[in-house]
């Protein structure tokens, strides 16, 4: 059985990763995945891609799939308000279909 769900995707510096995960845990997200990379954004002109010496400044992408669109929205809004007024990073939402809804 397939179900509609929402994928929350957060891009930020690794140094702020724990803040994001704290919010996810508080909101009861059941799982997440993290990928490391680089990037470039409008706010800070750092090229994360080349910040080799300071590992904590690399970009991470945190992906969370939640079944409930309201919950996705709440998580995203909290992140935007609490974590990103001053920190670099962006939050986006998109639609996905998942299987075995009880896992999300």
């Amino acid at each position: 059985m397939k179900h509609k769900a929402t994928l929350i995707s957060v891009l930020t510096e690794k140094v702020f990763e724990q803040d994001i995960l704290d919010v996810l845990e508080e909101e009861g997200a059941k799982g997440y995945s993290i990928f490391e990379g680089g990037g470039n954004g409008p706010l800070h002109q750092h090229q994360s891609q080349h910040l080799s010496m300071v590992d904590e400044f690399r970009i991470v992408k945190i992906e969370v799939i939640v079944l409930n669109y309201e919950l996705a929205n709440r998580i995203a809004s909290r992140l935007v308000e609490e974590c990103f007024p001053e920190q670099p990073g962006i939050v986006s939402l998109s639609e996905v279909e998942i299987f075995r809804a009880q896992k999300f």
């Binding site: 140094v15 002109q45 750092h46 080799s52 010496m53 904590e56 609490e82």
Partner: protein
Amino acid sequence: METLVSFFNLFISGFQTPTLGFLMGGMFIAAMGSRLTIPDQVYKFIVFVLLMKIGLKGGMEIRNANLAELLLPAIFAVLIGVIIVYLGKFALSRLPGIKPVDAIATAGLFGAVSASTFAAGMLHLDDVGMEYEAWVSALYPFMDIPALVLAIVLGRLATEKKQGSQEVAANKRKAVSIKFIIKDSLQGSALSALILGLLLGLLTKPEPVYEGFYNPLFRGFLSILMIIMGIEAWQRLSELRRVAHWYAVYAAIAPLAHGGIAFGLGAIAHYATGFSPGGVVLLSILAASSSDISGPPTLRAGLPTANPSAFIGSSTSIGTPISIAIGIPLFTELATLVF
């Protein structure tokens, strides 16, 4: 005339020391646009081995040291860290085009300590045969932590004064807790490695592994670290160009000024409690150096509104090369002349 010649020779032979040569070599190939990189993981491993070496050595020798002697230099180290931050805040925030929080973050990074510069200083003293107390490496955290803590506290206060209520909500998440910042500093990879080495040197008998591994690798690993620092220095330069030029001026003057202050205080300790000339030089180098590994992420987490291009650029691109190229030979020479 003769002095001039000898100065010139010192200068030339300075450039011929591998440490500085490798640093400039790194800058050179980065400037040529080379794609040569030393992988991050290797970089981290090299820093770890260097700090373990310094820590182990310190730990093994502290066993027979009179730790009361450490007191005055440790107090001075704290003092220097604090002075540097206030001095930098004062100097930078008065300059045009510099945000207060950026000024404070930059001053904090210059108050904190660079493991690589410190290692280069130690190797230099070993090479010229100037002795120093084994526990000097234990001074590292006494300067590093107060500088970072003070910078974050001052930076937070400066930000809160300026900003509205939404900001405050976010800040509640990570309120300014001095205890938290100290813990965070101690947990950083550089200080952890140094403390681990000190403890192992003190409590176990690591002589065989020290003599057979950590010590022989020191010089070689440092040479590679210098290449990495050189590459990094060049690459950050382009970021530094995007921020106010005053950062470059500050970064060029600060290391020598800070080293000078430390030299003065060190000299007091020398006459008061017999702190060795080599120890005074290393204290000056700690002060002249600016943090490149642990400091930046601690500041980033503590002061997310501060622009990292400003503080990392100043420290890595200008501060570190100057403290290695000029600071290390200068303070060594000064000690030979003065004491």
